[in-house]
């Protein structure tokens, strides 16, 4: 038994290999961004999948084991991972990646937060004190986040500073070009009225000028009830919307209920990398998001 354990340990120690940095990414979009910026210089583990509700992840043993060996933890922050990350980091026994430490990065700290609640009361549902954490739906946010993340990686791995600097410059150029393309394609979406299933799209709406007129969840994080959905339906009869948006990880039932009655399109958005077949990287994520939104206009 002991020999087995010992050889297991030695085996995995040797598999730590010589990759420059070991990155623990909380969500797929940050794994993808880290890959853009680090290339082969990072071994990246993604803690959650595109089909998982990021609010509802457990502090699984596997996550603790991965955090133990991480040099850098890249997360959204703004309390999105509040239900599991603090415990994972504490149990990991890894001093470097504790909040505020040299190996801890929160994307939300680099962008302007929307929907910061004027008051904090759980009577308002599962609100986040620092604002809506779903920042990855606005493609513009990736520029300041990429900049801040690249700085962090240069600090963690100073030997490869020029590598990160170069990749950051390349990313910024490509991303600006892509932004211009997406914004041009999405021009017909300006001012279009939409319904959202969860308050997960304020950044997307802010970016593309969508007008959110109703939310299917009565309060953030609360399941839509039949009576609430009827109220939404009333709103839609007075103020029609073109489509109802939901993230890939969300149940299609509430959206379907509305589309059948209000005769509008239900649009499932990938929400993050891996949320659809086309969303294989960050570019694919927004290509597909814009394409699906445009389909909703038909």
């Amino acid at each position: 038994m002991y020999r087995m354990i010992l050889s297991l340990i030695l085996l995995s120690l040797s598999s730590l290999s010589h990759a420059a940095i070991n990155v623990f990414a909380c969500e797929p979009e940050w794994a993808a961004l880290t890959k853009e910026l680090a290339g082969e210089h990072a071994v990246i583990y993604t803690a959650t999948g595109a089909l998982q509700d990021p609010h509802r992840v457990e502090a699984r043993p596997s996550l603790i084991a991965r955090a133990r060996r991480a040099d850098l933890v890249v997360c959204t922050g703004a309390e999105l991972e509040m239900a599991w990350l603090p415990l994972v980091l504490r149990e990991s026994g890894n001093a470097k990646v504790q909040p505020g430490g040299e190996g801890y990065f929160e994307a939300a700290s680099a962008v302007r937060m929307l929907e910061v609640p004027p008051r904090l009361d759980r009577g308002d549902g599962d609100v986040h004190a620092q604002g809506n954490p779903h920042i990855q739906t606005d493609a513009r946010n990736f520029l300041p986040i990429a900049h801040a993340l690249a700085q962090k990686m240069m600090q963690r791995d100073p030997a490869n500073k020029s590598h990160y600097q170069q990749r950051l410059t390349t990313f910024e150029q490509r991303w600006r070009a892509a932004l211009a393309r997406w914004e041009q394609q999405a021009d017909p979406l300006k001012g279009v009225a939409v319904v959202v299933q969860h308050q997960g799209f304020p950044y997307l709406s802010d970016w593309l000028g969508l007008k959110e007129i109703a939310v299917l969840e009565p309060k953030p994080g609360m399941e839509p009830s039949a009576s609430w959905l009827s109220q939404v339906l009333d709103t839609l009869q007075r103020q029609p919307a073109r489509m109802v948006l939901r993230a890939a990880y969300q149940s299609e039932r509430p959206s379907q209920w509305i589309t059948q009655r209000a005769h509008i399109n239900a649009i499932e958005l990938p929400y993050t990398v891996g949320g659809s077949d086309a969303a294989q990287d960050l570019y694919g994520l927004f290509d597909d998001t814009v394409a699906r939104l445009l389909k909703g206009l038909r």
Partner: protein, 395 residues
């Protein structure tokens, strides 16, 4: 860092969400759990499980009851330490300290040191607070072998191996204040625990954890009242001797696409086996005869929890105990019952509804066959509400 700030300034985008210039900004996270229940039982809940009269038997409450309200306070103390305390408010009045510990945050190398009063890391359920239980009560094996939960005053050191798979080793040394130990005024440690946990994911949909625990303590004059004897009386006894317990635990969880919000299934089981060896003083208030006593008690449970749609869960649990056959010294052979020839069991069914992550309402039905000749059908309604800071739950 400076680059980030200047970037924020240039784009006029960033705002400070930490602006707070008063003392309360450093207040620790505070949470309060409110819970209560209604219980309907056919038998007297004070009657212990057959063969376990010398063990604790935390029974159930009948009628309307305020459960224990639990107050939790936690915060980082400084860059090295974090402190947490849980105070239980007894409905009859009084406050007891459930947990009050300090843990290190900056050791690194996978080491975590905890000291103070804490729930022991043995088994799977032992560390979980009552509000996180999947049933209104603990499995029988936890009730009789650990008086629901083993709390310890002492030190815990855990080391997480730097392996791909989760592999954690833990050791505890403590006062031995809770059953099966008996707190004694002495130097050194009164109880020791060793445990190892392994766990991993299987794809994105399944995860598991398994554990092995060893507990060792010594009981001195551990008194029990109302213990039945061979003469048909109820007497008081006192046990002095060594107590060694081995435990095995396994948990497996499955969620389609790994999305716990929609549906999930959790299977878990634990087995404990305790060997006690020493002297038993029979009828401490009367005959007062002391002779050797050794017994192996064991028990297990298996349960399944199924969330069949968001917010709704149902669960089934089966419990079984084995009081063992005791070796009783000659002087007490005609007094102390050695073989009860009965194995207590119980089947429990649970349904709960959680309007949000912070509230839960539960119904529970149990067919309890833990007392020979006294089958009991039990019915419970329970609410569990959590206010304030809502910390992360363990796996």
């Amino acid at each position: 860092m400076f680059r980030t700030i200047s970037l924020c300034g240039a784009m006029l985008l960033c705002q400070s969400s930490y602006a707070a210039g008063n003392e309360s900004a450093f207040n620790p996270a505070f949470s309060l759990i409110l819970s209560g229940s209604y219980g309907s039982l056919q038998q007297d809940p004070a009657t212990p499980a057959t063969g376990f009269a010398m063990n604790p038997y935390p029974g159930h409450e009948q009628g309307f009851n305020l459960g224990e309200s639990e107050m939790g306070i936690s915060a980082n103390i400084d860059p090295q330490f974090r402190g947490a305390a849980t105070l239980a408010l007894d409905p009859a009045g009084g406050v007891s300290v459930e947990n009050a510990f300090v843990q290190t945050t900056a050791f690194g190398d996978g080491l975590n040191l905890k000291f103070g009063r804490f729930f022991s890391g043995l088994g799977y359920l032992n560390e979980q607070h009552a509000h996180a239980w999947d049933f209104t009560d603990q499995p029988l094996v936890y009730a009789v072998l650990w008086e629901n939960q083993l709390g310890e005053d002492g030190v815990q050191l855990k080391w997480l191996a730097p392996t791909e798979m989760f592999l954690e080793f833990g050791a505890e040394a403590g006062k031995g204040r809770g059953f099966p130990g008996s707190a004694r005024a002495k130097n050194g440690s009164g109880a020791g625990v060793l445990f190892v946990h392994v766990g991993d994911d299987i794809g994105i949909e399944q995860s598991w954890r398994a554990g092995l625990s060893l507990h060792r303590t010594r009981a001195v004059e551990r008194e029990s009242d109302d213990v039945p004897d061979l003469l048909g009386n109820s007497v008081s006894t006192a046990f002095t001797g060594d107590s060694r317990t081995t435990g095995l635990d396994v948990v497996w969880k499955y969620a389609p696409n790994g999305n716990l919000k929609e549906r999930y299934l959790k299977l878990q089981g634990e087995y404990f086996r305790r060997s006690e060896n020493g002297d038993l003083r029979y009828d401490t208030a009367g005959a007062n005869i002391s002779d050797s006593y050794a017994v192996i008690q064991s028990g297990w449970y298996a349960q399944a929890v199924y969330q069949f749609m968001p917010r709704w869960r149902t669960a089934l649990r089966y419990d079984r105990l084995d009081p063992g056959i005791a070796s009783v010294g000659a002087a007490n052979a005609a007094n102390v019952i050695a073989d009860y020839a009965f194995k207590p069991s119980r089947t429990t069914l649970m349904l709960d509804y959680s309007p949000s992550e912070f509230s839960r309402i539960r119904l529970q039905l149990a067919h309890d066959n833990s007392r020979q000749g006294l089958p009991d059908n039990q019915f419970f309604v329970q609410y569990i509400m959590s206010l304030g800071a809502h910390g992360a739950h363990s796996y």
